[in-house]
Amino acid sequence: MPDPIVVAEGLHKSFGDTHALRGLDLSVPRGTVCGVLGPNGAGKTTAVRILATLSDPDAGHARIAGYDVVREADQVRARIGLAGQYAAVDEKLTGRGNLRMFGRLCHLPRREAHRRADELLERFGLMEAADRQVSGYSGGMRRRLDLIASLILRPEVLFLDEPTTGLDPRSRGEIWDHVRELVADGTTVLLTTQYLDEADQLADDIAVVDHGQVIATGTPDELKATIGDRLDVVLDDPAALPAAMTVLNTLTGTDPTTTGADRLSVALPGGGFRLADIVRDLDHAGVAAADVSLRRPTLDEVFLRLTDRKETVR
């Protein structure tokens, strides 16, 4: 495994009574995308703010490219880009004006700042709107400008905190494409998101965070494997639902969830289930099934299970 470029060890952070981070560990290999998932209030933004030098941890430490985020903040800042949940750009300036200003503040010489602004506007398809005030931009355009503004210095590590929240599917797809391009160029990305398909699409590794701790890590496939395959059953007759429930419960040891008047879905613990056996069991119980299928769980199901189990433990 290549050396990690982002390392966090035992991060703690409290806000008054709220213990937002309780020993969060994270390690992101260079050139990969790490998706940080977690329910609202899990501590994702808090972790990103610490890694991006905006906030100091109460305990624990973190390094970016070997530099400590507290003691060597300037070195860290020269290597990172941050795009947050809302567009952090000046509404009153034009898109070009914003990028030129941020370029100057990154200490690029004037000519270079102008050149870089144009280059980024061109590459990310904002040239048309370059000379319009940002207040007249659509939500997607603003978010794209915000993303671009974090790319001026070609950061080694890019932090994206919910980069597509509130965007329509098309704008989301555009942001995803941009992220893929950046990763292809060698940028390491740490992405927090509420959308599990986003993590599925973009992330090499996923860290599921809940109550300020990482409760599971792995590739999307590994995480899906931990909760086993799903069985979906569609019945001929909705009246057979209770009978089907009983059969599936006996088979798997868990209560199936009804996904419609005539539909059931259940997680299969471990492997070793054969479709033919299941169909036969249903048949014996007099349940006529229109469709029985085995499938990999979605990341949503993984997420709900992981964060749910935590909930029942406490």
Binding site: R49, A52, T53, L54, S55, D56, D74, R77, A78, I80, L82, G84, Q85, Y86, A87, A88, V89, D90, E91, K92, L93, T94, G97, M101, F102, R104, L105, C106, H107, Q133, A149, S150, L153
Partner: protein
């Protein structure tokens, strides 16, 4: 790339980045000329409104012209507006995440407050110029020659700069542009509770005490004295009004000494 290490390098980048941010404020005004016009027309409207509406009703102490009496007060009022202006700008940046972007960049940390107060100084000078024009138009003028006149304007600039740092601090503390906007009217009493528009003698004791020690009163009194306008303090008045120039300078020094370090600490703090 970025030499933020040596003290001299730091200072240089603080100035350079501060200037970039001054440029940003000017850019905002250029793209939003409405805001600029409103900001500039405001003082002119005040001159006309106060001069003609109140002027007909209020008796100036030593029988002078009310518009002559009024102008130093309006100058002081506009000077005080720096606090609210900078406060709302800082709060807006803090609440929209722009401040976080600045903080996550390898720029000079102190450039943001310095840039903001520097930009306010430029707009402040522009507003003063407009007011001088409007004042001359309604019959106001300085009577004591170039040097005292220049001294009066210098005092306004100094106090304005000090007050803008109070704005930096309050804006950073509030961190929310809507709250900051809602707070603006709360500052109105500071200008009203002074000798800017009416003499303080008529006020009840405790009110008069506050008004006498108000920096707005000191600036008004100093300007009246230096411009040779009516209403300059005479006879037995409170210490600040007997020494208005010294009071303005003391107030400015005190505000800067308190609020520059407080603001810088609030800006660089990484608690959140």
């Amino acid at each position: 790339m970025t030499a933020l290490t040596s003290p001299l390098g730091r200072l240089r980048w603080t100035l350079t980045d501060g200037l970039t941010l001054v440029g940003r404020e000017l850019g905002r005004l250029r793209h939003d000329p409405g805001e600029l016009v409103a900001a500039l027309i405001f003082p002119a409207v005040m001159v006309l409104l106060f001069g003609y509406v109140f002027g007909s009703a209020i008796q100036v102490p030593d029988g002078g012209d009310y518009r002559e009496y009024l102008m130093p007060g309006l100058f002081a009022m506009v000077t005080f507006s720096a606090l609210m202006g900078v406060m709302t700008r800082m709060a807006a940046d803090a609440s929209r995440g722009v401040m976080d972007r600045f903080r996550s960049m390898p720029m000079a940390r102190l450039a943001v407050p310095f840039g903001q107060t520097g930009a306010d100084l430029l707009t402040g000078l522009l507003m003063l110029a407009i007011m001088v024009g409007a004042g001359l138009l309604v019959g106001w003028q300085p009577h004591r020659g170039l040097i005292p006149t220049a001294q009066a304007f210098l005092l306004m600039v100094v106090l304005r700069y000090a007050l803008s740092w109070v704005g930096v601090y309050v804006g950073l503390a509030v961190k929310n542009d809507q709250v900051a906007d809602a707070m603006v009217p709360l500052f109105l009493p500071f200008t009203m509770l002074s000798n800017a528009f009416v003499p303080t003698d008529g006020m009840p004791g405790w009110l008069r005490f506050l008004a006498d020690w108000n920096p707005v009163s000191a600036l008004t009194a100093a300007s009246r004295e230096l411009f040779g306008n009516p209403g300059a303090p005479s006879g037995s008045v409170a210490w600040p009004l007997a020494h208005p120039v010294a009071t303005v300078l003391l107030w400015s020094a005190a505000l800067l000494l308190i609020f520059v370090p407080l603001s810088l600490r609030a800006y660089t703090r990484r608690g959140r």
